[in-house]
């Protein structure tokens, strides 16, 4: 009786997995076709730009952007798609959306230098020279795995270490070789580090919301509503941290670079400092990363 129940369970599990795999395969084919078509449109647009046919280029770019957006809207998130979409928006002159998509691409492909290069170029072309917090280079070197791996890669790494640790435990129980304990301690320490890194990664990606301004110009207000006075203006591509959500409004803060020094001093002599400015932004003006 028990054996029969176990067999049914195994069969059901196999059926579920096979069906799931089959469904993924189907969606992936569609994604591949749409991705290839969007790339084709993008490349034609680049050709049109070279031929100074801006109207044709814009049309093709809009088609490409729509296709990329459609892929993403179906729950298929991929760094390449975000990157290509960022490029498309950059060529359409929508720097904010380009930066937003480069940031998303960077989360999924943190080792990709092309994303960094394009992001830097896009950031240089925005109007607000805000000071965005970047992790110090020393920390990036020391905790390199955290900055070079995306969330899924850290998960895979943690699971691999977990399997190794469990296998070592099983071997220790069965074979009773005491020297296996040293390996267990070593791999367990690695597993602990990986799990802590994963926790921080998840918190960084989901615990703190970051956003990018995606409209040409918008007002940051004193409160969540049009009735509140505008505090200051912020432009396309500026990045902010979302602290609170209230209806259709985000409470955000931005880091602003402040130059300190005499008026007579040159820019090089002036001391640069950071200031945090808070306010409320309409949801339509901000794209959450």
């Amino acid at each position: 009786m028990i054996r029969a129940r176990f067999c049914i369970f195994i069969l059901a599990a196999l059926f579920f997995c096979t069906e799931k795999a089959f469904a993924d395969q189907l969606s992936k084919d569609g994604v591949v076709k749409m991705f290839a078509a969007a790339n084709e449109n993008h490349m034609q647009a680049v050709k049109f730009i070279a031929e100074k046919n801006l109207q044709g280029a814009n049309k093709k770019l809009e088609e490409a952007a729509l296709q990329y957006e459609m892929i993403l809207s179906k729950g298929f998130g991929n760094g390449q798609v975000y990157y290509n979409l960022g490029n498309t928006y950059y060529r359409l002159g929508e720097t904010g959306k380009a930066i937003l998509n480069y940031r998303k691409a960077h989360r999924l492909m943190p080792r990709n230098a092309e994303i960094d290069a394009n992001l830097r170029l896009a950031k240089n072309s925005i109007e607000d020279k805000e000071v965005y917090y970047e992790t110090p280079a020393v920390l990036q070197r020391v905790f390199f795995w955290f900055f070079l791996m995306n969330k899924n890669e850290i998960i895979a790494f943690s699971v691999s270490l977990y399997v190794i640790v469990m296998s070592l435990f099983i071997a220790l129980i069965i074979l009773k070789y005491q020297w296996l304990k040293r390996f267990i301690i070593g791999f367990s320490a690695g597993l602990l580090i990986a799990v802590v890194s994963l926790g921080i990664k998840i918190y960084a990606e989901h615990g703190t919301d970051r956003g990018v301004v995606i409209t040409k110009k918008c007002s940051v207000r004193y409160g969540p509503g049009e009735e509140y006075e505008a505090k200051y203006e912020i432009h396309d591509g500026a990045e902010c941290v979302i602290e609170q959500v209230k209806g259709k409004w985000y409470k955000v803060y931005v880091h602003v670079g402040i130059k300190q020094g005499d008026a007579l001093q040159t820019d090089g002599d002036k001391k640069e400092d950071k200031e945090i400015r808070r306010g409320w932004l309409h949801r339509d003006d901000v794209g959450a990363i």
Partner: protein, 613 residues
């Protein structure tokens, strides 16, 4: 070449060896007269030492004329050789012990000796002898003579910013143990100060007594003119003085007053806390003279020199040149200000403020060091052929005059951007066009899109939806738990007899029932009932981990009741066992059907018991 190197090495060795010997023999010959105390009573004894420094190969000096003393014994001759920091010093001492015979001030006359045809004379020493004091527990000790301090400067007059060396000296009589030294430096106002070297320790003779001297030196730089005062320095320490005891005449006193016992038990030693405060020191500070003061002078006082250099002498217009100006010498390095660049036209160079680093290289006698100014300048014209001259002025207090050092302009080549030769990549010299242009960045563009399909997978799918990941998480845990229990079960089977019997009881009983079935088909009734009875008994013996032989009906019944087995099952067990035993040994074995029935009952009974136990 090798020969010449060897010759120089040999020469260097000779210089070192004979230089050292020269140093040794260069020590001056000197004769001193010292006493252990200058104030004593008629009961005391005076130790007089005539010491010849600089040689040991000498005849004894003449014994000085002394009135009011008689010689108890002497001379006791001692020779001493000391090597301090490679400097060898030799001395020979002649020690006499004298007994005062008359009170008053007595002069111990000079002693003389002859060495290599020269005559050497020591200074006389005045000693005062007083009456014996009434006997008391300990003799009074003149602490002021034993230890005193002194604060002095190397000069009484100085210029503003000139270095003055401040000496603090602690004198304590030779051989006197001093401990717990606590020095409080004088409060120095209107001065800048720098520590000079480490503390120095040496011997000095004062009034015929040898003192150990501990000297601390500080370089002070007055920053204002006028009559300045350096306040008193304070020193606290403990003197460890051996007390002399009164002897009562007891033989035990002689024994226990032995110095060995005194040292061992710490008796006879007394700590005298001593505090000494020096007199303040007055210093007359003169302002720097106005006559002859150069316009470039910015307050440096001492004796300095200057060097200047540039890192690159060939630059393009607007490119930075790092000019390094180093001022070095004796004086207050900290207060050296930046040397001046003599620029005729302000538009020639763009000049940035200098950064300076200070390094003190010597603190032994004077403060000596270097201050380096790194200055970035950017030439603005191609016509410029040199960096302007650099001028530095300082006041030399030794010469009482201002000095100005001028560094000649450093030649540089300033090129325009258009004349720059572009980077040659792979073109050969022949193929180069005659008029080359510089590579210009026309525009900045983003890098192209990614078109690779191999890595096109959904990176947003959560890991818990991946069956492989989920399997990797759960499967090892299941295997681990299973293997843990399996291994534990196997271990217990091997080590725990009760557990092993309990686990195999059912299978053993089934085996017995199988044997009974065989006996039934074989027609052996007694063997059949023996198997049935044995099967149940052994089963219960295994379950309760007791010997099968001791599993009697009453004991089994008690054990079953203790295990809270229902009464009907217990009664059934007892009834079956007595029935099987009865039929086993009697002629009433029953029919085959009855035997099969008994077999079924035994099987059911074991199954019931298995559920209960």
């Amino acid at each position: 070449m090798k020969k010449s190197i060897g010759f120089f090495v040999f020469l260097a060795l000779l210089i070192v060896v004979f230089g050292g010997r020269g140093k040794m023999y260069a020590q001056e010959v000197n004769l001193t007269t010292t006493v252990n105390k200058t104030l004593l009573t008629l009961d005391d004894k005076l130790t007089l030492t005539l010491t010849v420094y600089g040689t040991q190969d000498v005849s004894p000096p003449t014994f000085p004329e002394i009135e009011g003393f008689s010689v108890l014994y002497g001379p006791q001759i001692s020779a001493q050789t000391r090597i301090v920091n490679g400097a060898v010093s030799v001395s020979k001492g002649y020690t006499y012990v004298l007994q005062p015979v008359a009170t008053g001030k007595h002069t111990i006359g000079p002693s003389t000796m002859e060495y290599k045809g020269n005559r050497y004379t020591s200074s006389p020493v005045i000693v005062e002898v007083i009456e014996s004091k009434p006997s008391s527990g300990t003799k009074s000790i003149d602490l002021d003579k034993l230890v005193f301090t002194e604060l002095k400067t190397d000069k009484e007059e100085a210029y503003v910013y000139e270095q003055v060396t401040l000496f603090f000296r602690l004198y304590f009589q030779k051989g006197l143990p001093v401990a717990d030294i606590d020095y409080t430096a004088p409060a120095i106002k209107n001065f800048m100060e720098e520590k000079l070297g480490d503390q120095v320790q040496y011997e000095e003779i004062r009034d015929g007594i040898i003192y150990n001297v501990l000297e601390l030196r500080t370089a002070i730089f007055p920053i204002v003119s006028g009559e300045l005062s350096v306040s008193s320095a304070k020193l606290k320490c403990n003197l460890i003085v051996q007390e002399q005891r009164n002897r009562s005449g007891s033989p035990y006193d002689d024994f226990f007053s032995d110095s060995f016992f005194d040292d061992f038990f710490g008796r006879g030693q007394k700590k005298y806390p001593v505090e000494r405060i020096t007199n303040p020191v007055l210093l007359k500070v003169k302002p720097l003279p106005e006559t002859g003061k150069p316009k470039e002078f910015k307050g440096a006082v001492g004796n300095f020199n200057m060097e200047a250099s540039v890192k690159t002498s060939r630059v393009k217009v607007g490119d930075p040149i790092t000019l390094s100006v180093s001022v070095y010498g004796d004086g207050n390095i900290q207060t050296i200000n930046e040397p001046e660049l003599i620029i005729n036209n302000k538009d020639d160079f763009k000049i940035y403020p200098a950064e300076s680093t200070t390094q003190i290289t010597n603190r032994e006698e004077v403060i000596r060091g270097r201050k380096v100014f790194s200055k970035v300048i950017e030439p603005q014209k191609t016509e410029l052929k040199s960096i302007p001259a650099i001028v530095f002025s300082y006041f030399d207090p030794r010469e009482n005059r201002y000095e100005t050092i001028t560094k000649e302009p450093i030649p540089i080549t300033v090129e325009s951007w258009e004349q720059e030769i572009p980077i040659q990549l792979t073109l050969s010299q022949e193929k180069l066009p005659s008029s080359q242009q510089q590579v210009r960045l026309l525009t900045q563009d983003i890098l192209p899109i990614m078109t690779g399909l191999s890595s096109l997978k959904n990176q947003r799918s959560p890991f818990y939806k991946n069956p492989f990941t989920v399997g990797c998480l759960f499967l090892p845990a299941v295997v681990l738990i299973t293997s843990f229990f399996v291994v534990r079960h196997k271990d217990r089977l091997q080590t725990d007899i009760g557990y092993a019997r309990n686990r195999r009881a059912h299978s053993v009983a089934n085996k017995r029932l199988g044997m009974a079935e065989s006996a039934l088909s074989g027609g052996s009734a007694s063997e059949f009932y023996a198997c049935l009875s044995g099967g149940i008994t052994e089963y219960l013996a295994d379950k309760f981990n007791i010997p099968a032989a001791s599993a009697s009906g009453d004991k089994i019944a008690d054990l079953l009741r203790n295990k809270r087995v229902p009464g009907n099952i217990v009664e059934e067990v007892i009834r079956c066992l007595s029935d099987f035993d009865y039929r086993r040994f009697s002629s009433d074995t029953g029919t085959k059907d009855e035997m099969e029935h008994s077999l079924n009952i035994a099987g059911q009974l074991i199954t019931k018991l298995e559920k209960q136990l």
